[in-house]
Amino acid sequence: MPSYLWLIPALPVAGLLLILVFTFRRPRISGYIGIAAVGAALVLSIVALVGLFGAQGAGRGPFITTFPWYQAGTATFSLGLLFDPLAAAMLVVVTLVSLLVHIYSQGYMDGDPGYSRFYIYLGLFTASMLGLVVAPNFLQMYVFWELVGLSSFLLIGFWWYRPAASAERPAPSAAALKAFVTTRLGDLGFLIGLLILFSQTHSFDFDKIEAAVKAGSIPPAILAVAMILVFMGAVGKSAQFPLHTWLPDAMEGPTPVSALIHAATMVAAGVYLVARAFPLFSSSPTAMLVIAWVGGFTALFAATQGLVMTDIKRVLAYSTISQLGYMMLGLGVGSLAAGTFHLVSHAFFKALLFLGAGAVIHGTSGEQNMFYMGGLLKKMPVTAITFLFGALALAAVPPFSGFWSKDEVLSATYNSGNWPLFIFGIVTAGLTSFYIFRAWFLTFLGERRLNPELAHAVGGNDDHGHGGHAPGDAHESPAVMTIPLVILAAFALLFGLVGSPWAHGAFQSFIAGPGETYGEINLPLATVSTAIGLLGILIAWGFYGAHWFSAEALTQRLRPIHTLLINKYYLDDLYGWLVAVVLLGLSRLFAWLDRHLVDGIVNGVAWLFYQVFGWAFTRAQTGRLPNYALVFFFGVVVIAGVVVGLPAHP
């Protein structure tokens, strides 16, 4: 294990502490410190990753060092570090995307009053995510899991002082709360699952639990229940159905946050959990089936909602949910390589798409509704082209990275024989390319359509320093924002090659070890999926590019479906009802019980003593000596009676 491994999570912590203590009032310097810290962590991560290239067998780890932290009875809880190819890859992904976001934020957050605070929170998040990746046991992972959730809360609610931007969009503080509470539900399942595992194996360590599972000492039914519960945590964190409702609302946070956390890294934590504990999951066919179905269903479910969104960030949010579903599907059908490959590939192109969306929002001084955009290809060409690269990757058009990774997932599903999920995957691919190109065409082609209600350039999400252009006057972003876009676009184009047949599936065997044939193309399958993807692009062109068909007419014809989709299948309303009526109703009942029953008993006892006994004993204090003497001698008589009455000693 590299001796400097601990530095990788520690450097962002050092950065955030420096900002907090020294440079809080010097925002520019805060930004530089943040960038320096994450940049250094990135360098170390790359060095560590390269060190693992070519390693075979035992050289692939996992390398674990721990030190004992707390002892309770016979159980010892320890903290430490774990290093293996999966962790190494994740470290690079997290630090790289984080660095690009740090740089991008120099431009995006310029002028915001909370600039230093932003970099502190970014550092907190990065450190927490890195700590999660190198955790050697479930306990440490859970700790950092919660820290990541906290960072997400802080970052979504970054503009907590802002009210709701419109009727359909919640206030950032409400969105942050919703994210936290929803993921907390998943975390509850996670914790219970962990405790079940602990009760079976008396350990939280991955290797010990793995050994117990291999030895068959855990009954299959219990293992299945425990692993499904642990998966609940992933369902929450990775926004799978039914705990997905927080992610679209999380778009109220600044767009760099959406790029980093809600596209590339934090939501990937759930996928990482399944990957890390893959030996445990794969030992329970029931759990794997649950994972695959949740993933496949979510992929399709979310893609349908992406079709009708008007806010560009929300399109990307539902896309994220859908793609995470693909990753879960890949893992669920048994392919660690497929799920992980798509995780990394998606991280790059989704971050690219979000940062591009951010550039659009920034450049239009806060417009987020695609129907009020248009014609931005001329005004911000770099953004438009890089966004196009991201869209092509998402639509899985070869040779972009998304093609290779999604193909890996689809062929794994096909090979597992699960027909329904395979169909889901194919249909979703078509929907995916449709909705992303719908977005691209609406945003960048044609002529600018301004929001008639805006007579002046009022900011939506993005009201920062340099206001004052006339509406309709969009501009390209500064270099600090476009350079990360270009870098990510290069990854979107080229990354897939490391998993392609020309590389003999290098990425997959790096992660999952040798022993399977990776990187081989199932040509018929690849052709079908590419064709569907291109078909989706063509149909989108038909509606929004060349206007062969009318979107409004179709919407009218299918109004019931459209209403269902645009109301998010009424899930938010359902959950809201559940909380308001069921949860709060129960709470009120219990509060009433507590106040009247429990407190009533306590107060009643006190009243009894005070009123009844107190009254009696008070009246006994007459102050009259003869009374006292009477009682005294009466007592003497009683004692004498007892003595007389006692049988004599034998």
Binding site: N627, F634, V637, V643
Partner: protein, 168 residues
């Protein structure tokens, strides 16, 4: 009549009069009359002591109780309120309960006493010897310390009584 029968006669007479006297203390309506009844009872008790051969104590009883304590009580009665008033020694509101307790007390004590087998010496005539000398030897011998402490106690009581009753 035998000695025993003389003793018995004397006992019953003294006892009977003592009971009457005691009842007088508690029942007579004027407190001065009650005090006089108390004197009467003290005398009779002294008689009991003589009957029991405790001549020194009999004498002490007369000197202290009849002589000193009675005077003390009479002074107190005279110094406090209208002692000749017909209602100066009334009963209070709990006299019925008091009767009950007193009866119960007597009952339990009498039961105790008649049940208890107190071992007695076979020859009681020795108790009629030179008691005073023996008492003196006892007081100056084994009981010297209680004797001295009693003296200190009396001193303290004397000083205390003076201090409390002083006009200030």
């Amino acid at each position: 009549m035998t000695t025993d029968s003389y003793t018995a006669l004397a006992f019953y007479v003294i006892a009977g009069l003592m009971v009457v006297g005691a009842l007088g203390i508690v029942l007579l309506p004027r407190v001065v009359h009650a005090a006089l009844a108390m004197v009467f009872v003290f005398f009779l008790i002294s008689g009991i002591y003589v009957l029991l051969g405790a001549d020194f104590i009999a004498a002490t009883q007369i000197i202290i109780y009849v002589g000193a304590i009675t005077v003390l009580f009479l002074f107190a009665i005279m110094l406090t309120n209208r002692s000749y008033a017909p209602d100066s020694n009334p009963a209070n509101s709990q006299w019925m309960a008091a009767t009950g307790v007193a009866v119960l007390t007597f009952g339990s004590l009498a039961a105790l006493v008649s049940q208890a087998n107190i071992p007695q010496s076979s020859d009681v005539s020795a108790g009629l010897g030179d008691v005073t000398l023996a008492l003196g030897q006892l007081l100056m011998g084994p009981y010297i310390i209680p004797f001295e402490i009693a003296g200190v106690l009396l001193l303290a009581a004397m000083i205390g009584a003076i201090v409390i009753a002083k006009e200030s």
